[in-house]
């Protein structure tokens, strides 16, 4: 794999370190306040190589804040943030990238008007020649982009086409392929399936699985427990800025996950009340109804 200088010594290769080793990324009682607003507090999170850690939560649960801390966009204000067991404070996303932590954002993944190959190498362009004549090595960039995209199963007939003309799933995949190519050990995916249809979501989930196979630590942020359960090894559910649940795959079921997502105990009470008042069939209550249930009905 070509790391082009951004690679980190000791990159986790497929099948390399066992999950018991030092986690790639660890948060201990971490939190973030914006002035008086406590957006996140007391969060523990562990990301290991070759594992998918799912972070679930409803809108406003603190998922975005969490991802921004790990990817270096914001600094945490409480608790500890460790990379390879060493405490860190990132100032910019570049710092995080230099540590092999790459974020793929839902909306910020790519620059729509730029061609695919330019997007692929954005911020880490390949060059040749010396200053002041140092210039982009376009043939190599195109060739590499094409090869890496094919390895992730994306075949484009025209790398010059603007990324904006790709489908949502493909754009996410370009961003993921890019992160993997540039030596990411930890891949943070912010709601990659949120805006996608069923088929496109499937595409992205397969890439997540592919990334895990290649030995990357993946943080998969989503509000869809079904998607999470399909690829996740560990599940952390955020609610109102703190952890509601943190469980290994073997310790939980999809139903439990859905329950916690929806607000757990609250939802159970709600279901109970509904069944008494209206005789609603419990199984017919849609999943994930949770606290968005219209108030007037009770």
């Amino acid at each position: 794999m070509n790391h082009d200088g951004t690679g980190i010594p000791g990159v986790a290769l497929p099948g390399a370190p066992a999950p018991k080793d030092t986690p790639l990324v660890e948060l201990r009682r971490a939190g973030k306040s914006y002035g008086n607003v406590r957006a996140l507090y007391g969060v523990d999170l562990v990301v290991r190589a070759g594992r998918v850690t799912c972070v679930l939560g409803d809108n406003g649960a603190g998922k975005s804040t969490l991802i921004k801390i790990i990817s270096g966009l914001h600094r945490h204000t409480e608790g500890d943030f460790l990379v390879d067991g060493r405490p860190v404070r990132f100032g910019t996303p570049r710092d995080a990238l230099d540590q092999g932590i790459a974020a793929v954002y839902q909306d910020l993944a790519t620059v729509p008007l730029m061609p695919v190959w330019r997007n692929f190498f954005l911020g880490s362009e390949l060059t040749r020649g010396r200053r002041p004549l140092r210039r982009l090595d376009i043939p190599r960039m195109k060739e590499t982009a094409d090869r890496e995209l094919r390895r992730m199963g994306i075949v484009l007939d025209d790398l010059e086409q603007p990324v904006g003309t790709l489908s949502g799933g493909q754009r996410q995949c370009v961003a993921i392929a890019r992160a993997v190519h540039f030596g990411a050990r930890v891949l943070i995916l912010d709601e990659p399936t949120a805006a996608l249809g069923v088929k496109q979501s499937g595409v992205v989930l397969k890439y997540i699985a592919a990334a895990r196979e290649r030995g990357l630590g993946v943080v998969f942020i989503t509000h869809n427990p079904h998607h999470a359960y399909m690829v996740g090894d560990h599940f952390s559910v955020l609610r109102l800025g703190t952890l509601e649940l943190s469980a290994e795959r073997c310790d939980t079921t999809l139903d439990q996950l859905t329950d916690h997502m929806a607000g757990g105990a609250e939802l159970a009470t709600l279901k109970h009340e509904l069944s008494q008042v209206h005789g609603v069939d419990l199984d017919a209550v849609p999943e994930g109804l949770g606290d968005t249930f219209p108030e007037g009905t009770t």
Partner: protein
């Protein structure tokens, strides 16, 4: 997001995202792909305007006339280049018209008042122009305010400072004649001389203009910095997230505009010996117009440097062509407007045709 697109999903071994080439996919013919380049529309427009005036105004057919057209185009075009880069980078600079005069005033007054070699003034003006650009850029990235507002402020400030300082220093509103000072002849050679091409006197700004256009195009399309320009204009947050130095890119873009203003300012000074402090107002819109006609998107992230060359040429050609054609000058501005609008429409039509799927 515009649908499924022209992509093919071919399954690799674990076959993620596999699927047969769907029915909506077609390859764009190469000709259409060429048309999709941002500068093609303006190129055709410029050719159309040129042909039109070659037919309508016999005087244009002389070589000397073309030199005049190119001269006017070059003084617009040299500024339109950095303005285009800045616009691709997603920002505006409304102060660039008066910044030209600020630069010329700085060089002229400093040399004259301190009785220094004019080259000292030239370098001081360069420093001042770059500083104004850096200040604009710094304020824009620092405050996050639209550059339209920030540079509207600097526009007014510079306009006032130009007048007030000139009045304060020289006691007049125009600077003193520097043509008999040391280094003037040399500087004039660099910034405001002419050379002979097949019996036609061509002004040196035309040459500089072409050199700068080639350089700007190379930087934009072939360097890492050029890639960043597209990225910060196209999606600043994405760019920052993948590690593009957004602030650095934007501030240097504003400084490039300062560099252009310095060059044109020096041309003004060494071409006319004195500088009127009230000049330059309104030219910023001409530069921006040339960039937009040249295929730059007002919202940033898309455009071309070479396109602004054709845009400036079109402006100069129409401007002078109307005079060469001897049309009623009362209608001058109206003609100019119609021609420009026509050019923009051609541009738009070409782009639509090229990107239609």
């Amino acid at each position: 997001m515009s649908g499924g697109g022209r992509t093919v999903g071919a399954p690799p071994a674990p076959a993620p995202g596999a699927g047969p080439r769907d029915g909506r996919t077609t390859r764009r013919p190469p000709a259409l792909r060429l048309l999709a380049r941002p500068e093609v529309g303006v190129f055709l427009g410029a050719v159309a305007v040129l042909v039109f005036f070659l037919i309508a105004a016999p005087a244009v057919r002389q070589g000397g006339s073309m030199a005049t057209v190119l001269y006017q185009s070059s003084t617009i075009g040299i500024m339109a280049l950095p303005v285009a880069l800045l616009m691709i980078g997603g920002e505006f600079d409304l102060s660039c018209g008066v910044a030209v005069i600020t630069s010329a005033l700085t060089a002229s007054m400093l040399s004259y008042q301190l009785t220094l070699n004019v080259w000292t003034g030239v370098l001081a003006a360069l420093a001042a122009s770059l500083a104004v650009g850096a200040l604009n850029g710094w304020m824009v990235v620092r405050t996050g305010l639209p550059s339209f507002l920030v540079t509207l402020g600097t526009f007014l400030i510079l306009q006032g400072v130009n007048l007030a300082v000139t009045k304060l220093v020289t006691g007049n509103v125009a600077t003193d004649d520097v043509s008999d000072m040391d280094g003037f002849g040399q500087a004039k050679k660099v910034f405001a001389s002419s050379f002979d091409v097949a019996g036609v006197q061509v002004r040196i700004t035309v040459l500089w203009w072409l050199v700068f256009a080639a350089l700007a195009t190379w930087v934009l399309l072939r360097t890492r910095y050029g890639n960043w320009i597209f990225a910060v204009g196209g999606d600043q947050d994405s760019a920052r997230a993948v590690g593009v130095p957004v602030r650095f890119t934007k501030i240097t873009l504003f400084m490039l505009v300062g560099l252009g203003a310095w060059f044109v300012g020096m041309h003004n000074l060494f071409s006319f010996d004195t500088v009127q402090s009230g000049e330059g107002v309104g030219n910023e819109l001409i530069y921006i117009a040339a960039a937009v006609i040249g295929g730059c998107l007002l919202t940033g992230g898309y455009g071309s440097a070479i396109g602004s060359l054709f845009g400036a040429f079109m402006f100069g050609m129409v401007n002078q062509g109307i005079v060469y054609a001897g049309w009623n000058p009362d209608w001058f501005k109206a003609f100019l407007g119609v021609m420009l609008l026509g050019a923009v429409l051609i541009n738009l039509w070409v782009r639509r045709t090229a990107t239609r799927r």
